[in-house]
Assembly symmetry: none
Homo-oligomer: 410 residues x 2
């Protein structure tokens, strides 16, 4: 069984809003084991909408439209579905009555355009809308069906998660598509793929790599009749990949790198503090994203200004003068001093130049030093990064976490 | 001139990621006055991708693909475009050489799959990628063209905003749809809408409010033959709205709240430092997002741990004991002390409980104190926030910026 999603709305084609409903619907389809092989996005134009629904019906069993069910003139999804199915649009007297009662009860001013919401393609069923006034639609024709959902989030979500999920589960019955993500850090995408290429040939589970800044995600996807069976298909593949990549895999599914690091610190009963220059607090912000991070993360300093490195952290004026704020020597003192001042097991420092121009003392954009102070002394790594300011700063926090993790693994 | 966007990636069809690139590309098309009448989304499947590109080419002048240009086996956009255009895929020796030099320079391990990135449909031009290794493509065929952009955000954004925007502007030239955003802080959405409702009736320009955490954006959209003409249509409406909302409007278009605050500090030749507990560095991170923020922002401390508030900031043990870390008194000392230690004009403190459970001394989730130390003394505001941990922490940084801005306006 296959499905196709048709998102409707000119605001989507103008890029004025991001379509988060289609991914949500896609997740529900995947949960139900229904393959979604395509999505379309069309504007509030009857001719193009009709054509899109027809095209979708020609290649999928279930077509799901999102949006365009309101009372206004540019809400034309009802018309588009009727035209694509070649049936009439009829008014439903019971729903018309329901709408009039609803407006009276809520003391809203009645306007006749509301009657548009009582229209449905002949033979179609309404899906009740407990939040708004526009009902959803289920239109069957032979073995195919078109399901129409409203666009407002507060109406879309309960309808998609409730009656539509139920309908899909019932009409499909029994196959799920389930994925597990293995999250890898410290290795490049092409290197990871080279290492596991021999494991990427299969189809069930399939293995696909996705590059993210300073990490790689491997998605293992299985088709099965139940979620538990899908897990049993994925398990041995995860084992094989772990055999190759070892502890470069830091987490599974939604686990973030900061969460993995906080967990390791907590497990080892260790503490950490940060001294941030280029990232201005971004590393501390990420570590404290993790609920309960307070046992492992004590705090730190943001020494964005040159003087702040002396005033808050006691970096030697001679070091700053001789080597500059962006230097191995400064990173070394920053990491050692913050660990000492907050009496933590580890101290992490980041200093560098995120641009847009070269530093006061000529250090180029993208030059970064990351220091880790720990039981084994202080180690500083030099990095040369490319990209915009935000990219460089995010990558700094990634690599700081990767290096701290390496120290915790050692 | 019309365009169609084809987003490529199985992860999009599984709902694992939200497509934010297509809206960005759609905005660029709208800016250039190029009508985007449809979007498609397909997975990493060569047959379906080829068919989608062919279909798009049959109904649009420019087809823009996003994603699938990396080095791995499931990156098949190059193949799909070549197949849709009916041309061969050829290897570009100059780019191959460039890739090998790049890997040698960055000391990355070379793997032959990288050579896939030197492939291009015959006659296609590469678009240089200054961040990653996969170039973009411009493939012309008669009056039509296919433009291919890479999926990673740090590579997509500069390529879309730079060479692709330039190419589209040059190849088009006609009617534009142009929007301007007025960014409002310190007022709720319904209050803002109530104030400007009489200005929201028009069509050119149209005015639409969008709610964001602790701020409201008003989008003014005009249709015209040139960008300059659209600006002339928007200008008087902006004037009217400013007449109503005054300096609650902190910025225009992409200007962020942190940028507005840094600008005000710079204009007034003032400096600021932060003392962050609940936000763990998030406020410093935001202030240092702004290039050139170093003249106004000196640094600060992250006092996540109770002891850190004493060790790094000299908050009195008696204060912490009597009132607790989440209290007006602690916020007051934090703001005053950081301003004193870093010799800044302003000091900002944030202490609170982001959850998931009540604080050690029973302070409820969502209770937050924000302190502003400045020439007028120290003012602390109490907030009761709702929402998840991330929402509360972000809203804390928003309100800290709003309050600092109020102090700078006074």
């Amino acid at each position: 069984m296959t499905a196709e999603i048709v998102s409707v709305g000119t605001e989507l084609l103008l890029g004025q809003i991001v379509d988060t409903h289609a991914p949500k619907m896609a997740q529900i389809l995947a949960d139900c084991g229904i393959g979604c092989t395509r999505r379309q996005t069309v504007g509030d134009n009857l001719e193009r909408l009709t054509e899109s629904i027809k095209l979708a019906l020609s290649r999928a069993d279930v077509v799901i439209t999102i949006g365009g069910l309101g009372p206004t003139q540019d809400d034309i999804t009802r018309e588009g579905i009727a035209a694509a199915l070649g049936v009439d649009l009829v008014s439903d007297p019971a729903y018309e009555e329901h709408l009039r009662r609803l407006f009276a009860k809520r003391k809203f001013a009645w306007v006749d355009s509301n009657l548009r919401q009582a229209l449905r393609p002949a033979e179609a069923q309404f899906i009740p809308n407990d939040v708004g006034t526009a009902p959803g639609l289920i239109c069957r024709q032979g073995a195919k069906s078109v399901i129409a959902l409203p666009g407002p989030r507060s109406e879309f979500n309960p309808m998609a998660e409730g009656p539509v999920r139920d309908y899909l589960e019932k009409s499909h019955g029994g196959r799920v598509i389930h994925s597990r993500i293995l999250r890898v850090c410290g290795l490049g995408e092409s290197y990871v793929e080279e290492q596991i290429r021999h494991l990427m040939q299969g189809d069930n589970p399939s293995v696909a790599p996705y590059a993210h800044p300073a990490e790689v995600h491997l998605r293992l996807t299985a088709r099965a009749t139940t979620r538990a069976e899908a897990d049993r298909i994925i398990d041995p593949m995860e084992g094989q990949i772990r055999g190759v990549l070892g502890n470069a895999i830091y987490g599974v599914d939604d686990k973030s790198l900061e969460e993995a690091v906080i967990d390791m610190l907590s497990d080892q009963n260790k503490t950490v503090a940060v001294a941030e220059s280029i990232t201005g607090g971004g590393l501390g912000q990420r570590l404290t994203n993790v609920p309960g991070s307070g046992d492992a993360f004590r705090g730190g300093v943001i020494t964005y200004d040159l003087d702040a490195k002396q005033m808050l952290l006691g970096v030697e004026a001679a070091t700053l003068k001789q080597f500059g704020p962006v230097s191995e020597e400064t990173a070394r003192e920053m990491a050692a001093n913050i660990s000492e001042r907050l009496k933590t097991d580890y101290g992490v420092s980041i200093t560098g130049n995120a641009g847009p121009t070269a530093d006061v003392d000529g250090k180029p954009v993208g030059l970064v030093y990351i220091g880790i102070a720990g039981p084994a002394g202080v180690e500083v790594k030099e990095q040369h990064m490319r990209g915009g300011r935000a990219d460089i700063r995010y990558r700094c926090t990634q690599l700081a976490l990767v290096h701290l993790r390496e120290a915790l693994l050692a």
